[in-house]
């Protein structure tokens, strides 16, 4: 009797391989869960710190987003702390949009050149160089901005040389390789027979590029540009080094101003945890986080549209 039970147990037991399989599956799944937990953790922590300005310090959200004076140490006439984040928000958007506007034609032009006009030279020179430049650390871009771009702006426009214009120049060069290589990928995915059909109809090379290839690759190109914008928006140190760090509404492109990231990098170490000054900075971080989610969403929407 007992031996049948034993036999049954033996037969029903998982084999060594099956146990290994379950174990491996479990381990790899936990690794994946860990990453998800990190994402949830980051969003949760930053959000809970970021809304403290509004819940514990009772700053109104509207004031935070629209007021123009950023001076968390001082209270205004009504006894409310002066935490208007508009200058930083405007600075961030301005610098992002400007650098994207400048970078897009160059990036797409280069991508077209290396894909359609001179694939040989593209593969030999342009592609390795862009790939290499994608990997150059942002502080290096910042340092070059500081030692080349800022003095140049100073010489041409006067003033200190620090400001949105210098930031735009640095970010333009910084996102150029990223946008170029992503645009090139987008152009590469346009089927060859589109071009053949267009050329066979008697279209010139430019007509083929402009009317067929670029149209077909539009979703991919837009993704590349938005991706570059997301990178520009979130870039901290390179911008912080050349923008001048004055939390004022940007009055001109060559006046010192600030972005969300630049205020964060300079400020967070100089404030006490839990104080209003500190909470206000976390609210800026939350704005940054939300914007990166928005960029993500836009990329997703473009991707979905492109698939249809």
């Amino acid at each position: 009797m007992k031996s049948t039970q034993q036999l049954e147990r033996q037969l029903k037991r998982h084999s060594k391989a099956a146990r290994l399989e379950n174990w491996g599956r479990f381990i790899s799944f936990s690794a994946l869960l860990l990453i998800v937990a990190v994402v949830v953790g980051i969003i949760g922590f930053v959000a809970s710190k970021g809304i403290a300005t509004f819940t514990t310090n009772h700053v109104s959200l509207w004031d935070f987003l629209t007021e123009k004076t950023w001076n968390p140490n001082i209270k205004d006439a009504h006894g409310n702390p002066e935490v208007g984040a508009l200058p930083m928000i405007v600075g961030s958007f301005l610098i992002t949009i400007l650098s994207a506007i400048v970078a897009t034609p160059f990036a797409i032009g280069t991508a077209v050149f290396m894909n359609e006009i001179s694939p040989n030279r593209g593969a030999k020179i342009l592609q390795p160089v862009t790939e290499l430049l994608v990997g150059i650390p942002s502080v290096v871009y910042g340092f070059i901005g500081l030692s080349v771009v800022v003095p140049a702006t100073r010489a041409i426009f006067g003033g200190s040389g620090f400001g949105i214009l210098s930031g735009t120049c640095v970010l333009f060069v910084m996102i150029l390789p990223t946008v170029t290589s992503m645009s090139a990928d987008a152009l590469k995915s346009v089927p060859r027979y589109y071009r053949e059909a267009s050329l066979a109809l008697g279209a010139t090379q430019w007509q083929t590029i402009y009317k067929v290839v670029l149209r077909a690759a539009t979703p991919g190109l837009m993704t590349a540009v938005v991706f570059g914008m997301a990178r520009a928006f979130g870039e901290a140190l390179a911008v912080q080094m050349v923008i001048g760090n004055a939390a004022l509404m940007p009055s001109s492109l060559v006046a010192p101003s600030s972005t969300l990231t630049s205020v964060l990098t300079t400020g967070i170490g100089n404030t006490v945890m839990g104080s209003l000054q500190n909470n206000a900075l976390w609210s800026l971080a939350l704005v940054l986080l939300l914007m990166s989610l928005v960029f993500n969403l836009i990329i997703r929407l473009i991707g979905r549209k492109g698939r249809m």
Binding site: E21, R25, I35, T110, Q205, G269
Partner: protein, 294 residues
């Protein structure tokens, strides 16, 4: 204007744009190397930094960069490998997988300063690790995980489906197929991905300024006991890396030769990235040849 002239003008313009971009990129690389190379010397690479005097080096920072890179890779590689294996080999195409993929994408698009701030909040303040190499390594891990996971998954994708079928047909379990058949075949491209991501981690600064800290206490390179405070291996000491050093001396430095030091450091960073890039290509190709007898 007929379409032929238009064509000529447009193509000419594209030549101009491409030439201009190449010029910018080469000028950039040239500037870094030309202004930085003269600074490089054995003394510069090994001597400790001086805060108020000329003639300091970046020895400690350079060591910190490599040590942090090593620790961050040590933590992130197994996690990324596991996650990539599950995502590609096991995950079914359902809402859960889509959600997880979205989460990874979000993590990869987060600004690195936000990742650094989270590291500051969680590791430095909550877990009381202080400004330390360990906090920095964790922050870098978060920064690195999504990129590395994606690159490993792409490597798994390049392995032909017939290899999996072969493994399964021999009666191997899925896990054994992955570990015994797929992974060995994917090693060259995984390695390439790892080295390329190492280049990115090496130059990262924004995630580190509030986790690994901005100070580099002097180290005693004779003392390799990780529990001593002046030991280079001690993971609890604050550690300014090379990239952070460049930022620090330029934004609040009072060093008289800050510019020379930053030029030199930039050149070191860029050279390191160059070496990482070439090593990735070379090793990947070589390993591929050896492992596949192609």
């Amino acid at each position: 204007m007929n379409s032929k002239t238009q064509n000529k003008i447009a193509i000419g313009a594209l030549y101009g744009i491409a030439g201009f971009v190449v010029l910018i990129l080469l000028a950039l690389l040239g500037y870094i190397l030309v202004s930085g190379m003269p600074q490089l010397s054995w003394h510069f690479l090994t001597a400790p930094a001086k805060a108020f005097l000329k003639g300091g080096g970046v020895g400690v920072q350079l060591f910190n960069s490599f040590y942090l890179l090593f620790l961050a890779m040590l933590i992130s590689f197994p996690i990324a490998l596991g996650a990539a294996i599950y995502l590609y080999e096991y995950a079914k195409d359902n809402w859960l997988t889509t959600t997880i993929r979205t989460a990874i994408e979000i993590l990869s698009s987060l600004p690195s300063v936000v990742v650094g701030l989270f590291g500051f909040l969680f590791f430095v303040v909550k877990l009381r690790l202080g400004f330390s190499i360990l906090s920095g390594a964790f922050a870098l891990t978060f920064f690195n995980l999504p990129l590395l996971t994606r690159s490993i998954e792409d490597s798994l994708r390049t392995i032909s489906e017939t290899q999996r079928e072969g493994g399964l047909a021999l009666g191997l379990s899925r896990w054994e197929t992955v570990t015994k058949v797929i992974l060995p075949a994917a090693v060259p491209s995984i390695l390439t991905g790892v080295i390329l991501s190492a280049g990115r981690v090496f130059g990262e600064a924004a995630a580190l300024i509030y986790t690994a800290g901005q100070s580099a206490p002097a180290l005693n390179f004779m003392d390799w006991n990780p529990f001593n405070i002046s030991s280079p291996l001690n993971p609890m000491r604050p550690a300014e890396t090379l990239a952070v050093h460049i930022w620090k001396i330029n934004s609040e430095g009072i060093m008289p030769d800050a510019k020379a030091i930053s030029s030199g450091s930039s050149a070191v960073l860029v050279l390191a990235i160059l070496i990482f890039n070439f090593a990735a290509r070379y090793l990947g190709k070589r390993l591929y040849k050896r492992l596949t007898s192609a």
